[in-house]
Subunit: 255 residues, 2 copies
DNA sequence: CCTTGAACCTCTAGCTACTTGAGGTTTTAT
DNA sequence: ATAAAACCTCAAGTAGCTAGAGGTTCAAGG
């Protein structure tokens, strides 16, 4: 009967796929304590130890820490208590999953951009990644400013549209680097600004823009958000771009 | 101009939401080294440090270790190299996500069972969880035995069906505990076995059973798999159940 | 100018679930 | 008898922090 079979730690490790140091560790922390040969100190595992180890692995699989497993191991039946703790774990896992999904989406976006655009300036890339990373945070911020609808609209946008906007931003950034120094009323400069703003507006859609414009956002908050965002432009480039934009806006108003 | 603004570590921490000990740590490992007041040793953060921190957070968001971030931080442009490493990360994240999804599914199944069945014997529960945990592993094992189709069929089964089978198993286990000791040809015992086998067969479907029956699986492997699985039954119960099942099979053959 | 309290400093230890390695003993095979 | 393989214990290292002890510096009020 192999139920009475005894295993050395090496055999046991082989059979269960758990490394020897890990078994030592489980022994040390007291969740799996095999018999010991009293003279040599060698560990002797038996059939019951296999079952205990399986319990440990099962509880680990459910997300329990070894600490908690130690307590759970010797309870003979599970009740509502377990259910509660399982629900908690479930929530935690859901959150983890969401985060991972966010990261996956972002990485895919970055990969696509780098592939299609070739070499990308790192400052620029960081600013894009920053944008993705803070999408979720900004959602919260926007919601706190009662822009729930805006948030919903934005998250609904398909990934391709977001990538398209990213690309526009890449091109803008490249053009800024090229055109910087020219007069702000230069047709090329104004053309660039027109292209960029139109792309942004078409991404957002008219009603969203209206809603955003209607909202009274305090200076301070904007300031803070901008402080936190890495810009792909130098300070001088940023100033120049702002001036060019102001000029563009004034021209628009005149028409 | 707030671009020249200097921050104490407290202000900086406040502004960025990163704790002071973490900032100390980032300083220590060299990924964010602010200026220091030479007399007092107090850290002085500036605008550039905000940007560096944002880069760090962005790369962390993409899943990089601080170790790798240290190397990436000072590259001025990202090329195909980055793309490769991003793809690797993507794979890793995908795996993580899969695992989490597996756990989530299992936990949901356990929660449902515990809710609907009330208190559940822990040996039984462990054996169910073990089943879920090894679903994936067994898939590999089955695939190595050229049962790819079987695997595909099984993973396609909806969660509800799996739960239903789990429930049948729970009831079987309860009935075994009750009926144990009766003669194996007792109608109640045979009825129990019939119910259980029929449920299993209807879950698997005829063609799957045929495929499984056709497959020549070596004794050893089966033995090993069974050794690894915790059973909700005592050894005696298991033997009794096996006899009852043999009896049932013989009766079936006679018909 | 002195004092008080907040903010800061460094340094050490602790966390999880292990892995790695040193240095020594026991078992197994020849 | 001896060599190699397997085992032992104990200490230290891993990532990315957090917590705490014990001491210094800064800002504001009296």
């Amino acid at each position: 009967m192999n139920k009475n079979h005894k295993f050395s730690i090496g055999e046991f490790s082989e059979k269960t796929g758990i490394s020897i140091p890990t078994l030592h560790y489980y022994d040390e922390i007291g969740i799996l304590r095999p018999e010991k040969n009293p003279s040599s100190g060698h560990r002797i595992y038996n059939y019951q130890d296999i079952i205990t180890l399986q319990k440990i692995l099962s509880l680990k699989f459910l997300g329990y820490s070894l600490d908690k497993i130690a307590n759970l191991l010797y309870e003979s039946s599970f009740t509502v208590d377990l259910n509660e703790s399982l629900s908690l774990h479930l929530q935690a896992l859901d959150k983890e999953k969401e985060q991972i999904e966010q990261s996956i989406k972002s990485i895919k976006r970055v990969i696509k951009l780098v592939k299609e655009e070739g070499e990308v300036d790192s400052a620029l890339l960081f600013s894009l990644i920053h944008g993705m990373r803070t999408e979720y945070i900004e959602e919260e911020w926007m919601e706190s400013h009662m822009l729930t609808e805006v948030v919903e609209e934005l998250t609904k946008k398909p990934e391709e549209d977001k990538i398209a906007l990213d690309k526009t931003f890449i091109h803008l950034s490249k053009e800024v680097k090229q055109l910087y120094g020219k007069s702000v009323d230069d047709p090329k400069v104004q053309g660039m600004i027109k292209t960029y703003l139109e792309a942004s507006f078409s991404f957002l859609g008219e009603d969203l823009i209206q809603k955003l414009a209607d909202t009274n956002i305090e200076e301070l908050d904007i300031q803070e958000l901008e402080n936190m965002a890495p810009s792909p432009f130098t300070e001088d480039e940023q100033n120049w771009l702002n001036q060019a934009m102001e000029f563009y806006m004034k021209q628009e108003e005149l028409e």
